[in-house]
């Protein structure tokens, strides 16, 4: 069957597993969004029977129609079987029965544009028991297969069928259903999950469900969640990968008599206060007399609940767009024990599938307020990556442990300036032999060289000076493992107190390494304590070198070698910068270049603004080949355009995170033909499908043999 590219959905941005997408409907809609299912109650609110009609507005009132009719997020709309007569493109259609669905499909040529088809459920069985669930899925697959072959829906760009996945708490049948999906990937434009919700599915199963889906679906496959999910649950499901919610939750909440709020649900009977400023609630407040309690008609409650759902999704989109979604989610997780449990469980058990969805370069400022932050995937990734790629430069003669500072990067803080001052005065020319390591919570340890990369330059925590046992353990363990990388003769000096000191002591116990403490008490940067630091430094006998070795810990070369190792893998820094490099760090544009015997110096990399992460030039990228796993193989030998699409990728490394800078290799060999930024995780790139995979930042000019070499 011929596959025609569909371009109805693309991922715009990831923020810690949550994604912002663009869904091409009648008008483009940003996801996560709400699909307004065409229930009679909604028709009543909008005052119209046909979804194609404009809502009936009345003069001056705050009726449901007036209010909802002006909400752009209501698109795309879905239609119910009996009135599936819309001719607008980009809409969803669904039908009351397979018979209706077939009837519509027979006449579909008359319908222009793209229509998303949610398959009618042909099976009457409510999936509440294993047998009924298995039968439902089986019959559903049979019916879908029959309809697809009869109407040749596979790959049709005009009618995009979605894969129906009714979810019940019997994971033993999920696999078979997903297998069907996996072997018919080209036929479906998205996945519709029906009935997945917290409460019904325990959080472990819920996680497992989305894990299996993620493991099989392609990049740029939109996920629709149909089920009674309330607005305060949207962040959790967005984190799991949902792109579109439908209004079932709003309807269910209304019928259960619930006043939905962004933070949870409250029975709507006789509320004395209304924490909402939707038109419905405002009007009630204006009209309230005395301490009268508020009563809602069903239509009013429905309109209010829609308002809450839409505003909540605005908030979710905003947080994803700002790159602050995970911190937002951690705060939101407190609305329900299930959410917190899910988050903690995912952090404890599902790191490998979540980490690639966290950009390695995250937001400028990341709030890490409580225990939910300790094991967030980007933090876990940082710790693991440092342990994997960092080792102190061979010339390091002293390991100095310092406390962190609120200001990032640390060296810009007052306390670290003072530390530097003391080190400089006491050690003079041998100071560049000192490997500094900053202890912190919850990140663990930050080598001085890495202080200006995410997340070390971005996290913000409530500082009380008190560490809880888990914080001590996280940092203590990480330090212990780093100490194992320090040659035995190198002394370890710690200028730490309080929780920092506990962590260092723990690491000493764990690693068997002696740590000498300066004996400071209270604020480490107080003048008394600085005095102690100075005295301790004087006691360490460092031989002053004749000249500073090129790769000594305090040098720029060491700093960027360490960063490049972190970014592209151990050894990459040496490969890129080993021939000598010149660093241009002043001004707005920062770069690293290589002096050539004659002619202009050659640019190896630019440094991304705001941090020390680099983007290799084509020349730099060629040096990284063989030293990094961040590569994708392109189906061809030269690139054109600004985007590499999923269709054009032969191979992509599964370690690639979204947002990573990757090398684009020619399909025929190991030659670099471009450098780009991944917009979807590597493990989803090579699965076929549609949509952008890599934003090309530089490429070898077509026809040229080696580009700007």
């Amino acid at each position: 069957m011929e596959t025609v590219a569909r371009k109805h959905f693309r991922t715009v941005k990831y923020s810690g597993a949550a994604r912002l997408g663009r869904f091409e409907a009648t008008a483009p809609v940003k996801t996560p969004t709400l699909l307004v299912t065409w229930f009679p109650g909604v028709r009543g609110l909008l005052g119209t029977e046909n979804p194609g009609d404009p809502p009936v507005l009345t003069e001056g009132g705050t009726t449901g129609a007036n209010y909802l009719g002006t909400v752009p997020e209501l698109l795309p709309r879905a239609v119910h079987g009996d009135s599936a007569t819309t001719s607008r493109s980009g809409d969803f259609v669904y039908f009351s029965s397979p018979v209706e669905e077939k009837k519509w499909l027979e006449g579909r040529d008359e319908i222009g544009g793209q229509v998303h088809l949610l398959h009618a459920r042909p099976v009457p069985f409510v999936a509440v028991t294993p047998e009924s669930y298995r039968e439902s899925l089986r019959a559903l697959r049979a019916a879908v297969g029959e309809i697809h072959s009869e109407f040749q829906l596979g790959g049709s760009p005009g009618t995009v069928p979605w894969f129906p996945f009714p979810v019940a708490e019997y994971p033993e049948f999920w696999e078979a259903h997903l297998e069907y999906y996996g072997s018919h990937l080209d036929e479906f434009g998205g996945i519709q999950l029906v009935g997945a919700r917290t409460g019904q599915l325990p959080f472990r199963k819920l996680l497992a469900l989305f894990e299996s889906i993620r493991a099989r679906c392609r990049a740029n496959t939109p996920l629709l969640l149909s089920g009674p999910v309330y607005p305060h649950e949207y962040p959790t499901f967005t984190y799991l990968g949902v792109d579109i919610f439908d209004s079932t939750g709003v309807l269910a909440g209304t019928d259960r008599g619930l006043y939905l709020t962004p933070a949870g649900v409250i029975p709507a009977g006789g509320l004395p206060f209304l924490p909402c400023s939707c038109p419905i609630c405002l009007e009630k407040k204006v009209k309230q007399r005395g301490g009268e309690r508020h009563a809602f008609s069903r239509a009013e409650l429905l309109a209010h609940n829609f308002h809450v759902a839409l505003r909540k999704l605005d908030r979710v989109r905003l947080e994803v767009d700002r790159g602050t979604f995970r911190s937002f989610l951690e705060a939101e997780a407190h609305w329900d024990p299930q959410f917190s449990a899910l988050l903690r469980w995912a952090d404890a058990h599902n790191q490998s599938s979540f980490q690639p969805l966290f950009p390695r370069a995250g937001a400028r400022r990341v709030l890490a307020i409580g225990p939910e932050s300790y094991h967030r995937p980007d933090f876990e990734y940082y710790r693991g990556r440092v342990l994997e790629t960092f080792s102190p430069p061979p010339h390091a003669a002293l390991l100095l442990l310092l406390p962190c500072s609120a200001k990032k990067p640390y060296s810009h803080s007052n306390s670290h300036r003072r530390f530097e001052g003391v080190v400089k005065r006491r050690l003079r020319s041998s100071r560049s032999l000192v490997q500094e390591l900053v202890l912190t919570s919850p990140l663990g340890c930050v080598p001085r060289q890495l202080e200006n990369i995410y997340p070390a330059n971005a996290y913000d925590i409530p500082v009380t000076g008190e560490w809880d046992p888990e914080e001590v353990e996280i940092t203590g363990w990480m330090l212990a493992r780093l100490l194992g990388k320090i040659p035995p003769g190198v002394p370890v000096l710690a200028h730490l107190d309080g929780g920092y000191r506990q962590a260092a002591e723990l690491s000493s116990t764990l690693s068997g390494r002696d740590i000498q403490f300066t004996g400071c008490e209270g604020p480490e940067s107080s003048s008394d304590n600085l005095q102690l630091l100075g005295e301790a430094l004087s006691e360490v006998n460092l031989d002053a070198p004749d000249r500073v070795p090129p790769n000594a810990p305090g040098t720029l070369l060491s700093r960027f070698t360490t960063v490049v190792d972190y970014q592209f893998g151990a050894g990459a820094g040496r490969a890129l910068l080993g021939n000598g490099a010149k660093f241009q760090l002043r001004g707005r544009k920062r770069w690293i270049e290589e002096r050539l015997p004659k002619g202009k110096p050659r640019r190896l990399a630019t440094i991304v603004d705001g941090s020390d992460f680099i983007v290799p030039s084509l020349a730099g990228a060629s040096r990284l080949v063989g030293h990094t796993r961040l590569t994708v193989k392109f189906d061809g030998d030269s690139l054109s355009g600004s985007t590499l699409f999923v269709q054009g990728i032969l191979e992509a490394n599964p370690e690639i995170h979204v947002g990573d800078h990757v090398l684009i290799l020619a399909g025929s060999g190991v030659q670099v033909i471009g450098v780009g930024r991944a917009v979807v995780p590597g493990y989803q790139m090579a699965r076929g499908g549609e949509g952008p995979a890599v934003k090309i930042m530089s490429k070898v000019k077509a026809g040229g043999s080696g580009g700007r070499k």
Binding site: Y94, R121, F125, V126, S132, L251, A252, D255
Partner: protein
Amino acid sequence: MNLQELQKSLRARVQSRPRGKRRGGASPVPVRSWVDEDRLYTRAGTSAVFILGTRGCRWALEEGGCFMCGYIHDAPVTPPEPRELLEAFLSRWEAVRGEIRSRGRPCVVKIYTSGSFLDPEEIPAEVQDAILGAVRGEPLVWEVVVESRVEFATDEALSRLGGLSGTAGSGTPQPGFPFVEVGLGVETSDDRVRDLCVHKGVMWEQVEATVERCRGAGVGVKAYLMFKPPLLSESAAIDDLSRSFVDLARLGVDTLSINPTSVHRGSLAEWLYDRKRFRPPWFFSLFEAIRGGIRRVNEQDLRLPRVLCAPTAPGKARGVHDCLRVKDGDAALSSSLKRFVLEQDPSHLDVDPSALPPGMIECHERWRDAVAASTYLGEDLVDAG
């Protein structure tokens, strides 16, 4: 654990409760009876209902029974001896006959057990004969109804009922030859639904064959249809009942008796209900389904059987209901339904929500959304009801 085992264990749990603590409990009286107003084939009359305290349904005893059924818990722990049962019946019959005669109107006698009247292991053949013989002798008895699972409606068993019967709708029957109807639990004409949702253990082929046998034996057929068995969504249930109307009308049954599922003790339906995974059907759905069924039958130019419906626990949370909070709302619908059954006039099912007690307009909206949601999702938003 599969559903059948679950159902069995639910039964066992109820049975193991001490007798005194079983709500309702099994009647120690071997035969109960009452007389009431009812619809006969051609006219309104009286009905005399007998409940025989037999050992209960063989399907329930051996296979766990149907998923919505809890009648087995009404069966006495020690069933009466056949002779005892017959004596108890005959003595009740004397009293009831007096009542029938004093009312002086034609009467339908309904003889129910918690199982199958025609199952010889439940009621020995000679006792069946004796009971029927006694009833048949009374001229005011125009109709007799017994119930049985289809597999017990054998030629042999039917011959005991048939040959005695008049013809449905033929006016006044000859004295001593009432019209005999056997109630068969057909539940639905869809095998998948009957198997998976009801666990009836009966296939449509068997139903067809049995109906054929009944006609051959001159016995009328009253087909019981389950409206919304467990595991069926609201909209699927409406569709299922309407379709079954057509299939059974085509088969030529005499009566359709609609049973909206109510939640029985110790049944799978109750287990689901307790977990908010089953909601008994809405009255509005019941009306729509019956109307739809009648419409479809008429569209196909089939003869419409008599339609009966006497729901258990109407307007209660465990029975067919709409919005429990609306005062008299369900009662109004319940009486519409009664009028429909008595007059066999479908216009009684055309309800205008605005003519119902206040609050029912909103309730009707909720129902419309509930049905739409169940269509869209394939299952009910259960606790929304």
